[in-house]
Structures are given as C-alpha cells and as structure tokens.
C-alpha cells in the first residue's frame, strides 16, 4: 500500500511535470526573447484541451487530435503575435490597400483613403511598449476564456484517454497508470526535439543570441521580429498539445487557464527566462512540489509551491539557469 502510494504520486508528479514542460518551455522562450510574460499562455493550454475534447468526441484519433489542437492554437498564437503584440506595418498596409481598393476608391472617398494611409504610416502599435504588450496578452487571455465559456459552457469536460492506454500496467505487484507514463514520454520527446532545435540549428542559435542581447542581435542582421513569430508559434503549439495531453488527467474546465498560468510563472522564475534547461528542470521540480504538496500537506500546498519561488527571487533573481534578469 505504502509503496503503491509513492509510485502513484511519483508518476503523477513526473507526468504533471511533463505537462508543465509543454506549457512552460514556450512561455520561457517567449519571456526570454520578448521580455514579456505571455499571460495568454494558460488560455492557450485550456483552448488546446477544449479543442481536443471536441475533436475526440467526433471520433478523431487521440494523437491526431493532439496535433490538430496544437496546430490550431499555434496559428492563433501567430495571429496574436503578428496582429496584436507586434502589428507589422506591412500587414496593416496590405489590409489598408485592400480596403482602399474595394471600399474607399469605388465609393469615391478619395480624402478618406488618404487619411487612412497616413494613419497607417504613422502607426507605431505597441513597439517598445512592453507594459502595453503584457496588458494585451492579459486581454487576450480574458477573450479566450470567455470564448471557451461560450462554446463549451461552464461544465467540466473529460477527455477520454486513448483506449489502449486506459488500463494500468502491472509490474511486480504494483500498478502503473499507463497514460501518465506515455504523457511523460511525449514530453521527453518534445524536450529532445526542442533541445536539438535550440542547440543544434542556426535558428536556435539566433533565438539564443536574441535572448542574450536582443539589440545587438538585430545589429548583427538577425531578423528578431521573425524570431518573435516563430517562438510564439512554437510556444502556442506546445501549450495547445499540452492541453490536449493534459485533458484526460486534468479535464477541460473554465479556470484551467488561470490554474496553469501561475505554475508556468513559477517554473520560469525557478529556471530563468529563456533557458530551455531551466524550464525542463523547473517543470519537474514544480511537478513534484505540487503533487506531493497536495498529497502530503494539502493545507500548505501553495506554501510548498511558492516558498522556493520566493527564495529564488530573493537570492538568485536570474533563476537557477537564468539567462535574462526578470
């Protein structure tokens, strides 16, 4: 009995750590490169879970659902980055010319068309306004939460795990929850892929250069604004996949976003913004603290979780593997 408790809790912890890694690796890269916490990241995770639910009840294969859900959330991430956080003048100009051609000109609104062009030319968006950008991501998270409430109602939805993985594994008289082992496996594969991308490709080196010194990276000709989009795509996709994978364990429910976001924040504070290794180690540390905290000292669970964060903030403000001063 005692042995079974430890095994289950340990597996719960590592599986939850794996989910947290899916969530916080992208959160950390975005934080490191853009210097802003993407407060919509919990929303990305929740949206992934809900999308996964809708796909699964329509009979879509679990892994296909995870991939599709992740990609859909990834695309949403790109749209948010390109149109809201860093609206590029080029895209606005294209929209402007389009409106100009189909509405203003045919209607003979010459003056209006000129004013519109002038407005776009002067448009600065939120470039360099990091507080504005953070507030924008907060706004997006509210919108995502409300849209989810609208579509999927307030009732929790349980995502069915893949049928083959529902039965526990029995080894040496103990039972192991198969699905959680597989979640851990997927997270480890994702971690390995991310590692290769970040450490073994020119793109990854450019992202790391941007984390180290963004201005100087631009001065070396590195297209940092394109990296923003790539990192957002990557982070949102991983969070979305994480949401689908987490669905059978956590369920999809209103508030899943605000339950997950603080955990990602703790991971990044522990591990250091922009550090993949930090996100990896931080995720599993938080996974263990969270699970064992709830299992052993439920009244103090949050204390157990936040105490290390406070200590790190006080004594190691750059995190254990820190790259960027928060």
């Amino acid at each position: 009995m005692q042995g079974q408790f430890w095994i289950i809790q340990t597996l719960n912890s590592v599986a939850f750590g794996g989910l947290l890694f899916m969530l916080s690796s992208g959160f950390s890269l975005i934080f490191g490169l853009m210097r802003i916490p993407n407060l919509a990241h919990g929303g990305f995770f929740m949206l992934g879970a809900y999308l996964g639910y809708s796909l699964l009840i329509r009979g879509v294969n679990f892994w296909v659902a995870a991939l599709l859900g992740g990609l859909a959330v990834g695309l949403l991430g790109v749209v948010i980055e390109r149109f809201i956080i860093h609206p590029s003048n080029r895209i606005l100009l294209a929209i402007g010319s389009f409106l100009d051609a189909v509405i203003f000109r045919p209607l003979g609104l010459r003056a209006f068309s000129g004013a519109w062009r002038g407005m776009i030319a002067r448009f600065r968006g939120l470039a360099g306004n990091e507080q504005g950008q953070v507030l924008m991501t907060l706004g997006v998270s509210f919108i995502v939460a409300d849209v989810c409430l609208l579509i999927w109602t307030g009732d929790p939805m349980t995502l069915p795990a893949p049928p083959a993985l529902r039965r526990p594994l029995f080894i040496g008289g103990y039972s192991f929850p198969t699905y959680r082992l597989v979640v851990l496996g997927v997270a480890l594969v994702a971690a390995a892929c991310l590692y290769l991308l970040m450490e073994r490709t020119r793109l990854g080196a450019m992202i790391r250069a941007g984390v180290d010194d963004r201005e100087m990276a631009r001065g070396c000709g590195i297209p940092v604004s394109r990296l923003f989009t790539i990192v957002f795509l990557l982070g949102a996709t991983l969070a979305g996949i994480g949401g689908v994978l987490g669905g059978p364990i956590l369920n999809a429910y209103p508030g899943l976003d605000t339950d997950m976001l603080p955990l990602a924040l703790i991971v990044v504070i522990l591990g250091g913004a922009g550090s993949l290794l930090g996100a990896f180690v931080g995720s599993f540390v938080v996974g263990f603290l969270y699970n064992f905290g709830i299992a052993l000292v439920p009244d103090l669970a949050y204390f157990v979780l936040f105490l290390p964060m406070v200590l790190v903030l006080m004594f190691l403000p750059q995190g254990l593997f820190g790259r960027v001063q928060l």
């Binding site: 080196a205 201005e215 001065g219 070396c220 000709g221």
Partner: protein
Amino acid sequence: MATEALALSGIDSYYGDSHVLHEIGFTLQPGHLLGLLGRNGAGKTTCMNTIMGFLKPRNGAIALFGEPVAGLTPENIARKGICLVPQGRRMFRTLTVQENLMVAALPVKQGGRRGWSFERVFEIFPRLKERTAQVAGSLSGGEQQMLAIGRALMGNPRVLLMDEPSEGLAPQIVAEVGRTIAQLKAEGLSIVLVEQNIKLTLDLADDIVIINTGRVAFSGRADQIKIDDAIVAQHLGVF
C-alpha cells in the same frame, strides 16, 4: 564623383527628452579610417548607436555609399553593410565562439570584396580557433574583443564601426588589435574608429573628428593633429 562610404549630416539624437547629438555631420571616404574622438560622455557611442539604427535620429540624414539608411531597422542596416563592434563587446555570452560567428554571418554585398568566413576570421585571430566550442562569456577580455571584431566581419561589412576596441585591454593586446585594424584598412575596408587611445587612433586614422558635448568640435586630417598639439589639448583635455 566618388560617393562617400558613410556620410552623416545634421544628425540630432535624443534619449527620451534629453538631446544628446546636435547636428552631427562627417564623411568617411571609401577605404579610409576615420577616428572619432571625444571625452567621456561626449556622445561617441550615441553616434554609433544612431548609425546602427539602435537609436533613430530625429533629424538629419545618414547615407551608406549614397543610399539613405537613417530610420531603417538595425537588422536592415546590418544587411545593407554597416556592422558594429560595440563598446563593451556585447558578446552573445551563452553562445559558443563558433555560434557567435555563425549567427552574424550575412551575404556579401554588391561592391563588397572577398567574403568573410570562419576560416578567414580564424586566420587573423588564431586564438579564437583554439576556442571554437568555448562559451563566449568565459573568454578573456582580449579574446572577447577579437570575437566581437570577428562577429562584425562575418556580416561582410562595407563600413565597419568600432567603439573603443582597446578599452580595458592589456597593452600587448591593444597593439594586436591595432595591427588587426591596420590590416583590415589595408584590405580596403572603410572604418569608423571610436577611441580614447589617441596615439592608437592617430597612428591608424586618415581623418579625425572630435566631438564635444554632442557637437562636432573639430574635423580634419589626422596629420594636422599630429602637428598641432593644441587641438588635442583644447578639445580632449589632458590625457
């Protein structure tokens, strides 16, 4: 008519509301080395940051071989062919030596000469070659300076900006950096060299610009200054 490699005119730059550069103007001829001198806080780095696009000038024009570049983003300015060896070196400290060079590689520009490669950078800085896999943050100051120069060269610059490359280096390393700069100049690269080290600058420069509290206080040929010590005394104080 020969176009200047780099021409600034009437540049006004601000940090927020504080007006730092006042109508700065100078020209760099192709293949020349222009020494930019000035006391601490005179605005030399601000001038480099403005050319590089880190800071957008409120007024004035900057032209690279006749092409206007003021107001472009730093990445586009770098791609047009202006590369910076920044003050304080600013390595990508968690990247290896090799990665620092790799991420900064840009294609050869039209009108540019033989392209730079890892091999050529390691040729002029053999000490970097022994440390390709070492993280830049763990290099010595002199090695970091070499890497900063190598990184800028990987961008295949048409104009190279160097902001106090001798700062904080031991005398024999300063001499080595000086020889490298002379070699780059001999290859025909157009260079703006910001320095506190007057002797080093006068040895290398064709032209000298002195700025004082954000204004051009002197502009002329280097040999003029060599003859007339009073100019140095007047604008730079005693060093």
